[in-house]
Symmetry: C2
Subunit: 173 residues, 2 copies
């Protein structure tokens, strides 16, 4: 049987940080870099982050993460891909997120999307995520996608991946 990979959306399939930097610059005139917010959670890094993500439309227009579409098109030939996103806290994000997936990743399909409030309810073989709150409770193999919240962590609980090209090399036969 094919192995199942749980793939996170924000920070992994969707380049949410590119959009955070953009809005922050529009609001403050200040251009932040990844190094400026290394080690911080989103809400610590950007004062208005909660306002942004609760605004209808925010998740509908995020840029696609570099290399994610190409890699997932290949991985789906060998694995079951489940997109799993912590999203029920923000009701207005839900419709936007599914419409975004339908547009940019139509080959995955609504059958393989999960919006939930706790990822530990789903068992699978591999998880690709950028947040410890998800990775730490997963029983399978974990790939930690490099993003500001995990950048400074040097322990080896989770295997670090810096790009979708690295994920391809690790997971494709």
């Amino acid at each position: 049987m094919r192995k199942t990979i749980l793939v996170d959306m924000d920070g992994v399939m969707a380049d949410v940080y590119a959009r955070f930097f953009e809005i922050h610059e529009q609001e403050t005139g200040q251009r932040l870099s990844v190094d400026d917010i290394a080690g911080k959670l989103e809400a610590e890094a950007f004062d208005n982050q909660r306002l942004w993500v609760t605004t209808p439309g925010f998740f509908r227009h995020l840029p696609v993460m570099k290399g994610s579409r190409e890699a997932l098109l290949k991985l789906i030939e060998h694995y079951r891909i489940l997109v799993v996103s912590l999203a029920t806290e923000f009701p207005h994000a839900l419709t936007d997120k599914q419409l975004w997936l339908d547009e940019h990743f139509p080959f995955i399909g609504w059958q393989n999307t999960v919006f939930c409030g706790d990822k530990s309810i789903i068992d699978a073989d591999i998880m690709i995520d950028d947040h410890f709150k998800n990775l730490d409770h997963f029983r399978g193999e974990t790939l930690m996608f490099t993003q500001p919240p995990n950048m400074l962590v040097t322990d080896t609980r989770h295997r670090r991946v810096n790009s979708w090209e690295e994920i391809e090399k690790l997971l494709l036969p």
Copy 2:
């Protein structure tokens, strides 16, 4: 550890058939009863059902199933309750469904909501549902909530429950 119950929304927590009958009568002048559509899936029973459920707002204003709120308020003292709804096929339903839950079942919380395209990905102890496509693939105990699609089935694969009062009697200590 507490047992986990997966609770379906449409036809179990939300009285979607009451609304189907109402809209059907508005559109055709004909008042159908449960017996008229016994044994039929929603899309077989109502020609325009797909149009109705893809219209933004439909799931936001459904009536609450009789007895569901009272029963779940008691059950949540003894079980982990996860609301699990097949909903990602209809992106515009997602936001409406979470807002509806937040309004009518705030004690369950967004942490315990799951919107997905396939319920077999979630393992738990008990499932309350009205559709065989969900009940048949569940490994735990199944409670089949009586609704038109399952009304005529007499086999004993799943334990039939006709009301939330019956569920309380079965599951409360």
